[in-house]
Structure formats: structure tokens, C-alpha cells
Amino acid sequence: MFLLSLLPILLPVLAGGLLMLWKPRQRVRQVFVMSAVLLTSALICAAVAETDRLGPASTACTVVQFGRNMSLSLRIDRASMVFGMIIAVLWPITTLYAFEYMKHETNKTRFFGFFLMSYGVVCGIAFAEDFLTLYIFYEMLTLATLPLVMHEMDQKARYAGRKYFIYSFSGAAAVFILLIFLMRYGTTLNFVYGGVLDMAKAAGQESSLLTVFLVAFFGFGVKAAVFPVHSWLPDAAVAPTPVTALLHAVAVVKSGAFAIMRLIYFGFGTDFLFGTYAQTVAMAAAAVTIVFGSARAVRAQHFKRRLAYSTISNLSYIVLGFAIMTPAGLCAGLAHMVYHAVLKITLFFCAGAVMYKTGREYVYEMYGLAWKMPVVFATFTVSALGLMGIPPLGGFVGKWNIAVSAAALGTAAGYACAAALIVSAILTVLYLIPVSIGSVWRQDTLPYDEDHAPADPNANMCLPLLVLTVGGVALSLASPWLISVLSGVAAGM
């Protein structure tokens, strides 16, 4: 059943293209998009189930064979399953939300076309079997999401888009170098848990290989918004909220983190990297990003920018988990990947709902809204508690495991990273709770006209919010199961 891994990629891409050429009316478009998304999600689930039942070989698929050991090929392993399931669940919900949110926007066909396409591409990143395939989809992701970032086409959007693709292409260029070196010093380009380096060839080249690792780390780090190369993300917050929520809090950025995971555990291998200066640099970069992102979030007054900075910080939680380079770290990183996905998308949806109903974008404009938009702010507060890491909510599970496995290293770097997590946790409270407090205990003094009267949005928006919040809580309560699954992944099964 190799089609099962190919179809979820092909279907949305083709559907998106068709949509843009076809330009149907509102109703038809919505039905078309929704059915396409649902079908894709169903396919992903089917593929995951099939693989789970019969093993990765059952759904592996070589699409194009370029040359010897260079191919565009797909193969679903445990890690792919995790990432695949995340997007398979979140995409339909976001689609529903987007229908409502985009109601007053222009160029909906283009938007939903690329929205569908990026679904397929992200799925491709999840299912990629080797670094070439990963690289291909990585480039395509940039291209597919660029129109979404530039959607408004005004000055700010153009600037954001320009910044976005410059950063992304620089990252891809760095990854290209990795590709060359792996072709030279690796046994294969495929993902092999434990690394593919051919030590016979690599002997004597360690230092340059470590350099290449760092180059590639920051190359992928662009999408994961690691510190020196992060600044595209806050600007990309000008995109319509569904994009910011799904792509810039989940799909795109998580692809970056996912790629870093592939790079560390399936590319160079922890045996080669563990304890080298490269690992220290990677961990340090992550730690710096964690603190920096949270600090900027505290300072940011624009609601979505604040959340974007928070995303930067939280992504580096994940990266840090991976950079610890122990199975525990990998498991922890994946766990935070799952939880942050659900929590952050909810937070963004809340911000979007406020913008959509009242057109307010700044934190100090949220005062007193909780009484007029109870659902939005209730869900916001719950998810905020989760992100802050109040046990037993999801954020704590991820943070706890990451920090414990970092501290378990017993090195100064490990303790420093744990400390960074702590500082960030404090800052997290400081940039999330005041929003809730202000929305409840302060007075809303801003004037508003009829069509911007603050009130809970209709079901199309509230439903995703509630579903996500409940799901997030449920997922937190199911954390033992999740952790056991993920530790299975981390064990390399």
C-alpha cells in the first residue's frame, strides 16, 4: 500500500492547484476545501494505522529515483507518525476556523489553494525517508507558505514575506551544504536511527563535520526560529490568523524542529555528536532562544507578536530537548512538540477571534473583554495555564521531562539549560496572566461601533476553540500513554 504514504501529499497539492485554476463560488469552495482536508487527514490516519500494523516497509514508496542512492522517497516511521498525527488533527480544525476568519478577506481562492498545498508539503516533511526528500519538501514549504504570509500584499506583508523567504532560503542553502557532506561522508542519505556517517571515510574530518553539523543545525534552525535566525517569525505574524496559528505555531516551525531531530538522531547520530562542542553550542543556542523569546514576549504589546515570541521560546524547548541527545531528551522534545502544538494554536485562535470580532490587536485593548467574550477568554486562560506549565496540564509534562533530562546530564550546560527553562517559565506567567487579569478586572474604556461590538464569535470559531481546549486537557490527562508512545519512538523502534 505504498500509495497510502504518497496520496496524503499528492492529494492536497493537486487539490490546491485545481482550486486556484477553478475559482469556484463561496459555498462550493468551502465544501471542496473541507472535503479535501478531511480526506487527507483520513489518508494520513490510514497510513499511520497501516504502518503501525504492518511496519514501515508496508507503506514505503520511492517516487523518483534520481541517481544511485539519491531518490525522492517516503517512509513512515514512529516519529513521522507523531508529526503526521499532529497535523492530521489540527488541519481540519483550523480549516473550519479559517472559513469564518477569512469571511471578510479578499483573494480567498488563492489563500485556500496554498493552504491546501502547504498541508501536503508538511505531510511530505513528516513522511520523508531521506535528507534529499526532506530538503526538497523543505524548500517547497517556503514556496507554498510565502503567498500565505504575503496575503495582505500591503507594505508590512511584503516586508514580512521578503524577510521570510530570505531567511528560509539561507537556511535551505545551509542544509544544501549538509546534503553534500552527507553524500560524501555518509553511507546513505536515508534516515537511520543512530546516524549514517561512515566513520571510515569521516576519520580525520571530525572537526569539519562538526562545523557542518552546526551549519545545518542553524539552517534548519531558521524554520525553528533558533536565536540568531529567528526574527522572521514575529514579522510573519502579519499573516491572517489561521496561518499564524497553524503554520507559524505548528506546521512550519515544527517542521524545522522535526528536521533538527532528523539531523541529530538520524543524520550525524548521537554517538558522534554527544559531548562535543557542537552539542554545547546547540544547547546554548536553544537556551538563549528560550530566555530571549520569553523576554521579548513580555515586552511585546501586540497580542499576536507576543504569542509569536512565545512560540520562538517554546520551539527552543523542543530543540533543547533534541539537543540533549539522549533518548529521554528526544522523548521530552516530542512530548513538548505535541503539547505546544495544541496549546499555542488555541492561544492564537483566541487572539484571532478578538481581532476578528473587535479589530483590537494590542494587549491593553483586551481590558474587560472577558465579560463580553467569555468563551474566548476562558479557553485562553486554560491554555495559558497549560503553557505556563501548571501541573498536570500539558505544558508542565513537556517542560518537566525536558528540564529533568537536561539536568540529568549533570554538566554545567545541562543545569544552565534547566535554569533557562525556569526563567522562561517565570516570564511565561508574566506575559500570559496579565492578559487574563486585565480582561477580567480592568475596565474596557475603548469606544466601538456596531460591527465591532465585542461578543463571542459564532460556532465556526468557538467550536475549534472549545475542541482544542478540551482536547488539550484530555491530552494532558493522557500523558502517561503519550509519554510511553514517545519513549517508544525515542528508543528508535
Binding site: N107, L146, F169, I180
Partner: protein, 496 residues
């Protein structure tokens, strides 16, 4: 009795020259157009047949023109590489003519139209000879012929700036061919031969005696500089943007796609067949070429970023892409030269497609050239838009497109020459980003919704449609199935 395919190179050349002469008599532009396309098609097919015949046995042969045997006579040498390149050239010329036909009718006076195809035939002939010839003086003669025909192609659009651009192009090319000629003469004076094979043997003898080292370095320098001028190597590139951008679409496509490549191929053949690579390395010519190539790569892109006029932007990009090719040659290894040859194919197809699509897009909006005036034009001719997008992405080096493959080979080939690895990889990375910096906004512009209604909706252009479709197919094909092509190139290089 020779097998029939030994005649193919000479037949192709003669066909081109013959058709050039005959077309001069034709008055009807449309008929001439048909003839030009036909010529391109026939030569392409013939080269294809030649390739098909040579490849299985991996053979190459020399063909004696006239009845003077070596060392006096005039020879052609044909191998798989030459066959592949000539096929590509014919293809590109044909596609460019198809794609630019509408603009030709718009830019050239109807009565001069047939003469245009005389020039294309001559250009094709020159390209064939430059690829096949085994005799350096013949090479010189046809460099001059290609210069003249190319100038004529530039002049086809009869406007003042075009004329001045032509003049500058002419003078610089003549300087280049002059340098080349001196090189030939000096080489003759030290070796006493003009046929590459014999010259090569003599040079080996000379090097064994150890004499003439300085002269040889000087000679190679002359060759490199002369051919470099012709093919817009970095410091000698100033003539290209005006010449390639100010003229009509088909000319731009042909010039950027093929003409500047012919001389590069001659340079490669000289390096491999006459002066061996070992000698080039020993004299550090390759390092110079390498450095110039990298600089061209970077500066070409930077200038392109600053450029606001669509076709001139593409012209600057050509300089950058020639930088890739010279970098490949400059690596001084067979792998590097193979990568360079592959990039010749890639750039020929992609860039000609780009020029045709831009021509079409600007035609959609009343032949306006400025990028900002082309906003939204792609929505009026989807195919042109797609072609432009794919071509641009291929130039950036996005996977599944031709450009990526050559970038890949260039990068991998540097891994052998340790001293140049870091520089090349860094330059490639930087240049990728720089390319993206001007191509991506261009793509966005042509697809964006236009602010005001476009003027002069151009009528449907079936010729363009055909050429665009074929070009797209070729670009994608090169990007996906590059392995066999690369195999041909490697075999051809070994047989050069």
C-alpha cells in the same frame, strides 16, 4: 567507406551555411521562419541520431574536411558530449524562435524579417563549428562569424540604444577574438601545428623538455581572456546586459542561451584536448578562472538585485550563471568541468525559456519592460507565468528543477579539490540566496493582482505556447532525470 553518422557533423554545418545563403534570397518572413524552425529541428534530430549512434559504443571520431590529411587538413572531432551540446543548441534556438516569433513580427520590419533567420542559421553554424572543430584557426574564423551574426541578431530591433549596445558588443568581441587569434599564432609559432591533436602532442614534448613554460602560460592566458570576453567572464562582462536586454526576445534568448556558451565550450575543449588539465593546474590558470567565476556569480546577482528592468535583470543573471560555469571549469578537475557542461545545458534551456516568457508577459501589458509594469501579467497568460516561475526557481536551484541538479554536481565536484571546497560551497549558498532575492519578488510581482487594468491584451500566441510547454518539460526533465545526461557528459569528456 565511413559509417553514415560520421558525416552528420559536417552535414549539419553545411546545412546551416546553405540555408543561410538560401534564406537570404527568401522574401517572405513567414516562410523564412518556417525554414529556420525546420533547420533547427533537422539539426537537432541529426545530432540526436549521432548521440544515439555514439553512446552505446562510447566512441568518438575525427572527420577530415576536404582531402588534405593531417597535419595540413581541416578536421572535425565528434563525440557524445559534442553531439549532446549541439542537440541542445539546436533545440534552444528552435524554441527561442518559436517563443519570440510574435515579438519578432512586432520588433522587426517585415521586409527585413527573412534576413533575421539568415543570421540565426549563421549563428547555429558557428555554434556547431565551435563545438566540433578540431582546428584552432577554423575556431577563430567562426568566432568572428558568430560575432557578426550575433551583432546582427542584436541589431534586429532597430532602435538607437540597441545599435550602441551592438557596437560595444562588437568592439569587445573583436578584442576578444583578436586576443584569441594572437594565442593561435603564438601557439603555432611554438608548436608549428594548428590541429588540436598535433598541438597537444607537441605541447607534451615541449613540457617534457621544460622549455617555453612562460610562453605557454601567456598563450593559455590569451585564450582564456579572449574566450572569456566573448562569454562574459566576470571582468569582461559589461557589454552583456545592454546587448542582451535591449534587443528582441528571440535574440535575447538565443544570445543568452547559446552564443555565449559556444566559446566556453571551445575553451573547455582547448583545456582538455590541447593543454591537458594537469598543465592548466600546474600553471594555476584554473585558480584564476575559479576566482573570476565566483566573483561573477556574486557580482552578477548583486547587480541583478539592483536592476528594475525585467530583461536586463535576466541578463545580469546570465552573467551570474556564467560564473557558475567558470567556477566549474576553474575547479580544474574532470568532475568540475562535467558540472560546468551540465550547467551549460541547464542555463541554455532555463534562460531561453525565461526570456521567452518575459517577452510574452511584457507583450501582455503593451510591451512594457519595467518589472513593476508587469504586475499581474501572469494572470493573463498562465503558461507564461508558470514558465517564468519554473525557470526562475530552476535558476535559484529548487529541487526537481534543472538548476538544482547542476548546483548539486558543482558542489559535489568541489569535494575533491579540498582547497576550493569551502569557498565554492559558501559562494553557492550565498548565490542561491542572492538569486532568490531578485527572482522571488519578480515571481510575486507577475502573479500579484494588478493595480490598474492591463492595456493591450495581446492575442493568443500558439507558437509561444508550444515552445513554453516544451521548455518546461525539458527543464523538469533535466531536473529529475539528470543522471543519464550526466553519464553522457562524463563519457563525452573522457573521449574529448
Amino acid at each position: 567507406m565511413l559509417p553514415f553518422y560520421h558525416y552528420i557533423p559536417s552535414v549539419c554545418i553545411l546545412l546551416c551555411l546553405l540555408s543561410a545563403i538560401l534564406l537570404a534570397a527568401v522574401r517572405n518572413g513567414r516562410a523564412a521562419f518556417a525554414a529556420g524552425i525546420g533547420l533547427a529541428a533537422v539539426t537537432a534530430v541529426l545530432s540526436g541520431v549521432l548521440l544515439f549512434m555514439l553512446m552505446p559504443a562510447e566512441e568518438s571520431f575525427t572527420f577530415v574536411m576536404g582531402h588534405f590529411p593531417a597535419p595540413f587538413g581541416n578536421e572535425l572531432k565528434a563525440g557524445p558530449l559534442q553531439a549532446l551540446l549541439t542537440m541542445c543548441f539546436s533545440l534552444v534556438v528552435g524554441l527561442s524562435l518559436l517563443g519570440g516569433w510574435a515579438d519578432l513580427k512586432h520588433d522587426v520590419q517585415p521586409d527585413k524579417l527573412s534576413l533575421y533567420f539568415v543570421m540565426t542559421s549563421l549563428t547555429l553554424a558557428a555554434l556547431y563549428v565551435l563545438t566540433y572543430t578540431n582546428d584552432m584557426f577554423t575556431g577563430y574564423v567562426f568566432i568572428e562569424i558568430s560575432t557578426l551574426s550575433a551583432c546582427a541578431l542584436v541589431m534586429a530591433k532597430d532602435r538607437g540604444p540597441t545599435l550602441v549596445a551592438t557596437l560595444r558588443y562588437l568592439f569587445l568581441s573583436l578584442l576578444g577574438s583578436g586576443l584569441f587569434l594572437i594565442g593561435v599564432v603564438l601557439l603555432y609559432s611554438v608548436t608549428g601545428h594548428l590541429l588540436m591533436k598535433q598541438v597537444g602532442q607537441q605541447i607534451i614534448v615541449l613540457r617534457s623538455t621544460g622549455r617555453f613554460g612562460l610562453q605557454l602560460a601567456f598563450i593559455i592566458g590569451l585564450f582564456t581572456a579572449g574566450l572569456g570576453v566573448k562569454s562574459a567572464m566576470f571582468p569582461f562582462h559589461r557589454w552583456l546586459p545592454d546587448a542582451h536586454s535591449s534587443t528582441t526576445t528571440a535574440s535575447s534568448a538565443i544570445l543568452s542561451g547559446t552564443v555565449i556558451k559556444g566559446t566556453v565550450i571551445l575553451l573547455i575543449i582547448l583545456f582538455c584536448r590541447v593543454f591537458t588539465l594537469g598543465m592548466v593546474n600546474a600553471l594555476h590558470i584554473d585558480d584564476v578562472v575559479f576566482a573570476l567565476g565566483i566573483m561573477g556569480m556574486i557580482f552578477g546577482s548583486i547587480s541583478a538585485i539592483r536592476e528594475r528592468q525585467s530583461k536586463r535583470m535576466l541578463a545580469w543573471s546570465s552573467i551570474a550563471q556564467m560564473g557558475y560555469i567558470f567556477t566549474g571549469i576553474g575547479l580544474g578537475t574532470r568532475a568540475g568541468i562535467a558540472a560546468a557542461c551540465f550547467h551549460i545545458l541547464v542555463h541554455a534551456t532555463s534562460k531561453s525559456m525565461l526570456f521567452c516568457c518575459v517577452g510574452r508577459l511584457s507583450a501582455v501589458n503593451g510591451h512594457r519592460k519595467m518589472l513593476k509594469e508587469m504586475q499581474g501579467t501572469a494572470r493573463h497568460d498562465i503558461l507564461a507565468g508558470i514558465g517564468f516561475t519554473l525557470g526562475a526557481l530552476s535558476m535559484i536551484g529548487i529541487p526537481l528543477l534543472a538548476g538544482f541538479a547542476s548546483k548539486l554536481y558543482l558542489a559535489t565536484s568541489t569535494m575533491d579539490s579540498a582547497s576550493k571546497t569551502a569557498a565554492t560551497l559558501f559562494a553557492l549558498a550565498l548565490s542561491t540566496v542572492l538569486n532568490a532575492l531578485y527572482y522571488i519578488p519578480a515571481i510575486v510581482t507577475v502573479w500579484a493582482y494588478p493595480e490598474d487594468a492591463l492595456i493591450g491584451r495581446a492575442p493568443r500566441d500558439s507558437a509561444f505556447t508550444v515552445s513554453a510547454a516544451v521548455s518546461i518539460a525539458v527543464v523538469i526533465l533535466l531536473g529529475v532525470a539528470y543522471a543519464p545526461v550526466m553519464h553522457i557528459i562524463e563519457v563525452g569528456l573522457s573521449l574529448l
